[in-house]
């Protein structure tokens, strides 16, 4: 049997080279792979392309600064990879910086490139990347600034914008439980874009609360079939969850 289970996050990210693209969810506390982000910072790969909804995701956390444990999450948000100068490009829908997040300054100084994409288009680009398709047409953004410089085509009388797939060399997934085949279930809105990331990445690494034997998860309720998952690490005692 193929063993997908690794003991540490350090092992799981050890082969990520400089210049790699990384895709992950970042929607506040719900579904962000905090432990893999920390491991990637320790690992130190540079010139990364970061693909997610957000570069940061501090909005939830800022609402409730007194909630116990929140500071721990703030210190494991994707923007920490900006502080460690590991990112050369971000592809996101929310590009707003905050006092802790230097994205604005870094983009304005030319140190980091930013591609800002409407959220529905962003996640569909991930979906068709994960579907092995080469592009799609949408009417979203037609007649707006977003259309500028985009290839368009009239289909069935409607002007449409061509959008290209997003795939990543490595996908970081935050799930709830994995079985030994790599099947995953999530928790509530922590599902987020995690199932899309799993499919759109060449090497997909999942951090999970629990690992169970194949057969213990309900076949009807598995969200990500195991064939999309390459590596699984269980969050240890003291890890972020």
């Amino acid at each position: 049997m193929k063993n997908k289970i690794l003991n540490t996050f350090a092992e799981a990210v050890a082969d990520i080279p400089h210049g790699a693209s990384i895709m992950m969810s970042s929607w506040g506390t719900a579904g962000t792979p905090f432990n893999l982000i920390l491991a990637l910072q320790d690992h130190g790969a540079r010139n990364l392309t970061y693909i997610s909804q957000n570069i940061g995701g501090t909005h939830v956390i800022r609402q409730f600064p007194d909630k116990p444990g929140m500071t721990r999450y703030l210190d494991a948000m994707p923007y920490i990879l900006l502080h460690s100068k590991q990112i050369k490009k971000v592809i996101v829908t929310w590009g707003r910086g905050t006092d802790r997040n230097p994205i604005e300054k870094m983009v304005n100084s030319g140190e980091v490139q930013a591609e800002i994409v409407p959220l529905g288009i962003l996640v569909e680009r991930m979906r068709i990347g994960g579907a092995g398709l080469q592009g799609f047409y949408t009417t979203t953004g037609v007649g707006t600034f977003y259309e500028k410089g985009k290839e368009t085509k009239v289909i069935d009388g409607q002007k449409c914008i061509l959008e290209l797939p997003l795939r990543a060399d490595f996908g970081f997934v935050r799930a709830y439980k994995a079985d030994t085949l790599g099947n995953l279930v999530y928790r509530m809105t922590s599902r987020s874009i995690n199932p899309l990331v799993a499919k759109a990445s060449t090497v997909t690494i999942a951090e999970v609360d629990e690992i169970v034997e194949a057969g213990e998860l309900d076949p009807e309720c598995i969200i990500t079939p195991g064939l999309h998952i390459d590596r699984i690490v269980k969050i240890p005692e003291g890890g972020l969850r």
Binding site: A30, G97, N108, G120, T140, G143, Y146, M188, S192
Partner: protein, 224 residues
């Protein structure tokens, strides 16, 4: 300066537009307050583009015990579950938006034009490096688009314009504008002034609105 409606009243007026059985997406800001003004006999089902259908109200400070780090809305706020809740991915959630399965969205705006063009995203022209979010899909995919906003900018400039000067979110998408002084419907003929805040006159509203308003024959004081 005349009294203007507060955020709660604006939300309550917008909530009156939501019908029993409607599937509704609420934008961050005044939009999310609408959930507090749904009478119990009316079932409105809330959808959020981060992958949740049928959720309840936004939790406030002091309710930390009820918060689940795994259950947030599109604004990243903690919410309660509602009976019949189902979870999906962001991609699945936008499928419902683009196919017209969402009945109403209530969202904020920087500007609205007399043709119903909406400007509410942050492109580089506005400031920052850009923040678009799901507004483009909502504005063009949802059946009825209600804008809730102050009638004027912090500097007193009109936000309802002949043409938007800010980058557009979508063209000809807005159906109704609920502001802190008036309720205005976007019609083929132009902007139809339907309701006024207490104490406000047609002329006073027109004075802070760039396009010429059509006055409804049924013009009345705002009703909640």
């Amino acid at each position: 300066m005349k009294q203007r409606l507060d955020r709660d009243i604006i939300a309550a007026r917008a909530a009156k537009e939501l019908k029993d059985g409607d599937v509704v997406n609420l934008g961050v800001g005044i939009g999310t307050l609408c959930v507090n003004f749904i009478p119990p006999e009316k079932q409105v089902v809330f959808h959020s583009e981060n992958g949740v259908y049928a959720f309840g109200r936004v939790l406030a400070k002091g309710e930390e015990d009820l918060m689940d780090l795994n259950l947030v809305n599109a604004g990243g706020q903690f919410v309660t579950p509602a009976p019949g809740m189902s979870i999906c991915t962001f991609a699945d959630a936008f499928d419902a938006v683009r196919t017209g399965r969402i009945d109403v969205t209530v969202l904020g705006a920087f500007q609205v034009s007399e043709k119903g063009d909406l400007a509410n995203v942050v492109a580089s022209e506005v400031g920052w490096i850009g923040t678009i979010g799901g507004a483009m899909e909502m504005a063009s995919g949802v059946k009825k688009v209600i804008v809730v906003m102050p009638h004027t900018t912090a500097e007193g400039k009109p936000k309802i314009l002949k043409e938007c000067t800010f980058p557009l979110t979508a063209t000809r998408c807005v159906d109704l504008i609920v502001t802190d002084v008036a309720v205005i419907e976007v019609t083929e003929e132009g902007l139809l002034l339907k309701e006024l805040a207490p104490g406000w006159t047609v002329n006073e509203v027109q004075a802070i609105t760039e396009p010429k308003l059509i006055i409804s024959p049924d013009l009345k004081e705002i009703e909640l």
